[in-house]
Each structure stands twice: as structure tokens, then as C-alpha cells.
């Protein structure tokens, strides 16, 4: 159990290659893996396919990768706080898929959990129906939605140990637990790093088994000073 997953951030983000699918934890400004996102900007990659709750918040988050011209597709449910992302879509520089929030998190969970898809009642009668098969079960109509797996995932945690066990704080948990399961290579940036055995095993929100690499988070990237 003493396997040490802590590595330099440059080595971790070097796993991301052009054309890859990247899943991101975080919700607007909460629990966003900004340290990893910013380290990725230094890499010469493009045509990324990103799954994220949103386009970021203000100038922070996915919008940074979009402005850097690194993103081909964005699958999310909100870009209202990042007008630059909307402009990239209108200009035809970025392909956008709207995915309702609960369907989005469930698609990532489904991929992470090794399932093949699920039936959701959300989106029936809306534009989300397009390209989706409708199925009626016990008189209720559902849309068949696909599972999504990413090549690489970035998450941010409050505390993490060297084997990748992660603990979150408050609403910074959000997508991070699920995103930590959904990729072939999962990188966690942690605000506080611990040895194996230092975290209370009852309080681990994401088991280290899901995590491949742990890096230090820049704690200045948190929106408000603590």
C-alpha cells in the first residue's frame, strides 16, 4: 500500500495528447483543477474533447483552454459565465454539445463504473432528444444515454495521500468523486498532501484505487483567500 503516486505536475500532464478526451472535476468556481488546467496550457496539444460541468467561471477554467485554441469539442451544461466560450461556439471554432447536468454526471459515472449506458427521464420533449433513442418502461418515457470514458481526468481535492485517497471540502466535492473514476489515467491535484495512513479511512470520499497520479495544487487558485 506504500506505492507513491506523487509525481511532478509536468510528468502528469504529459499524459495528455492531442485529440484526447479529457474529463474535468469542478463546478463553476468550486473544486476546479486549475493547477492542472494551467500546467496543460504549456503543452503543445490541440483538438481536445472536454467533458466538464461548464465553460468555467469568468476567466478561469475551461475557458482558458478554449482561448488557447486547444479545444475541439466541449460537452457541458452551462457557459453563461464565460462569454468567450459562447463566442468561440458562434464563430464555429468550438463544437458544443449541451448535456443536462444530471445526465452529464451520470454519463461519466456510467463510464467510470464499466456500464454501457442508461435510461434517463431528462430531456424528453426537448432538443436533447435529437440523436437519442426513446424507450418506454412501465409507461414512462426515457431517453437512452451513453456511457462516457475519458483518456485522462483532472480532479482537485482538499486533501490527498500518496496512494491517491482523496478528501473534499464542502461543495468543492461536486463532480470530482465521479470524474476520478471515469478515465484511464486520473490525476488529482491536492491542496494538502499526506502519507499513507494519515487520512481517516472513514472520511475518504474517493478511494485511491481510482487515482493514478497525485500532484500539488496551487492553493492561491481558489477564488477567495482562506
Amino acid at each position: 500500500m506504500a506505492l507513491n503516486k506523487m509525481i511532478p505536475i509536468e510528468e502528469a500532464v504529459a499524459r495528455v495528447e492531442s485529440g484526447m478526451t479529457l474529463a474535468l472535476g469542478g463546478f463553476l468556481g468550486q473544486g476546479v483543477p486549475l493547477t492542472l488546467i494551467r500546467a496543460l496550457k504549456a503543452r503543445p496539444v490541440h483538438d481536445l474533447v472536454i467533458w466538464s460541468n461548464d465553460g468555467g467561471y469568468g476567466d478561469d477554467g475551461v475557458v482558458e483552454l478554449v482561448k488557447a485554441g486547444m479545444v475541439r469539442e466541449l460537452h457541458c451544461c452551462h457557459i453563461g459565465y464565460t462569454p468567450a466560450v459562447g463566442r468561440a461556439v458562434e464563430a464555429g471554432d468550438l463544437e458544443l454539445e449541451w448535456v443536462p447536468q444530471g445526465n452529464l454526471i451520470e454519463m461519466l459515472r456510467c463510464g467510470g463504473a464499466g456500464l454501457g449506458g442508461f435510461l434517463t427521464p431528462v430531456g424528453v420533449g426537448t432538443a436533447v432528444e435529437e440523436g437519442h433513442q426513446k424507450v418506454t418502461v412501465n409507461g414512462r418515457t426515457y431517453l437512452w444515454e451513453r456511457a462516457v470514458r475519458a483518456d485522462v481526468a483532472f480532479v482537485r481535492a482538499h486533501a490527498g495521500d500518496i496512494v491517491g485517497n482523496l478528501c473534499f471540502r464542502g461543495t468543492a466535492r461536486n463532480y470530482n468523486t465521479t470524474v476520478a473514476t471515469c478515465a484511464d489515467y486520473v490525476i488529482a491535484e491536492v491542496e494538502h498532501a499526506y502519507s499513507a495512513g494519515e487520512l481517516d479511512p472513514e472520511k475518504v470520499h474517493a478511494p485511491g484505487v481510482f487515482v493514478d497520479a497525485v500532484v500539488r495544487a496551487d492553493v492561491s487558485y481558489c477564488g477567495v483567500r482562506r
Binding site: 468556481g29 461548464d54 451544461c77 443536462p100 444530471g102 454526471i105 420533449g125 426537448t126 461543495t171 477567495v224
Partner: protein, 219 residues
């Protein structure tokens, strides 16, 4: 639309909530509802990022970056509240544990269709609204009666992309309250102070009936 109007909508909406109800409040006017919950009524406010027991906005200087609502605002946590991940949050929402959701809209029509996430040239996104209108037991639309340019928001038929098809149960504006009838269609149940049945008829493109028991000067 004056701040007073927004508050009037929120105050009327707050009176709809019942003791112990789990409620999700969307951005904008719905968020104001928390300020008007009557004394003696304990409402559990849920936010879809992953928190229940959401309290008032954090006083300046006490903001915690890891304690925010789904609109990214810094909030407090009431005793009995807790945190969970977003997957669990939507299990709660779709699983029927959220009694009421209140959200703003761009358009709403007499079939209960709601359109609130995209308009020509402005993509916002549905966030959790599609899930909330499908999952919550009662869906409230809280909106100014007309758009800033004076055009109707209570329309004959939604023309913008739908957030939910036939999901709206109650519409509350600064001028009137409409409630969906079990047999379908909305009934005008209440007219706010300073407004008349004729005036409501003139500014509402949505088809509705006037309830036999319609209340004037209701709020």
C-alpha cells in the same frame, strides 16, 4: 422591473412552501425566495452542486470558497445540512426527493412548456434545470410578467428551445399567479395589488382560464 417587483414575486412564492419540504431555488428571483419563508416553516433548501440546508448568503468576510450554491454564491450551512457529490444530488432530484423547484424563464406557455437556456445569439445552458423540472414534484416558474422590451414571456407557444415539455405547474409573476389544473391548462387564481383582470389579459399571450374563485389584490 423594479427590485420591489422581484421581491413581490419571491414573497408570494415563499408562501407556497410547506414545512419540511425540500426545495431547489434557481438563480435570480427564485434565490430571493429564501428571504421570505414564513416563520415556523422549515424548508430544506437544496442546491444541485451538492448541498442541503443552504442558509442565507455568507456575510462579507466569512465567505468560504468551498461553501457555495449552484449559482456560485457564497452561502451558509444550516444545522442538519450536509454536502454530497453531484451524482448523489441528481439522484435526489430525479428520485423524487425534491418537492419543489423554482426557476426563472425566458418563455412559458399554456401547455406548461418552459424555455430558459438559450436564445438567438446567446447560449447560456440548461445547467440542472432540465433535470429539476423532470424530477421535482412541483415546478414553479417565477418570472417578470413581460420581458424588458415589453414583449410577453407568458406566450401562446414557446419558440425558444425547451427546458421541459409540459413540466410547469405554477407561474408566479409580479402581476398574477396561474396554477395548472389537473385536467390541463392554467387557471388565473390570483391578481396582484394594483393590477386588474383586464390588464392581465392584455399582457398575457398564454391561453388561460380565470378561476371561479380568482382573488384580486392577492399579494
Amino acid at each position: 422591473m423594479t427590485p420591489d417587483c422581484r421581491c413581490n414575486i419571491a414573497a408570494r412564492a415563499a408562501r407556497e412552501l410547506e414545512d419540511g419540504q425540500v426545495t431547489n431555488l434557481g438563480a435570480g428571483i427564485p434565490m430571493l425566495v429564501a428571504n421570505y419563508i414564513p416563520a415556523g416553516i422549515d424548508v430544506v433548501i437544496q442546491a444541485e452542486n451538492g448541498i442541503t440546508g443552504v442558509g442565507p448568503v455568507s456575510p462579507p468576510g466569512t465567505e468560504d470558497p468551498d461553501r457555495r450554491n449552484a449559482g456560485n454564491l457564497f452561502v451558509t450551512l444550516l444545522p442538519g445540512g450536509c454536502y454530497f457529490d453531484t451524482a448523489t444530488s441528481f439522484a435526489m432530484i430525479r428520485g423524487g426527493r425534491v418537492a419543489a423547484t423554482m426557476l426563472g424563464t425566458l418563455q412559458v406557455d399554456g401547455d406548461g412548456n418552459i424555455a430558459n437556456y438559450e436564445m438567438p445569439g446567446r447560449k447560456i445552458g440548461m445547467g440542472g434545470a432540465m433535470d429539476l423540472v423532470a424530477g421535482a414534484r412541483t415546478v414553479y416558474v417565477l418570472t417578470e410578467h413581460c420581458a424588458k422590451d415589453g414583449s410577453a414571456k407568458l406566450v401562446a407557444r414557446c419558440t425558444l428551445p425547451l427546458t421541459g415539455a409540459g413540466e410547469c405547474d405554477v407561474i408566479i409573476t409580479e402581476r398574477a399567479l396561474f396554477r395548472r389544473r389537473p385536467e390541463g391548462g392554467f387557471a388565473l387564481e390570483e391578481v396582484a395589488c394594483g393590477h386588474t383582470l383586464e390588464e392581465i389579459a392584455a399582457c398575457t399571450e398564454m391561453t388561460y382560464t380565470v378561476a371561479d374563485e380568482v382573488k384580486l389584490d392577492a399579494y
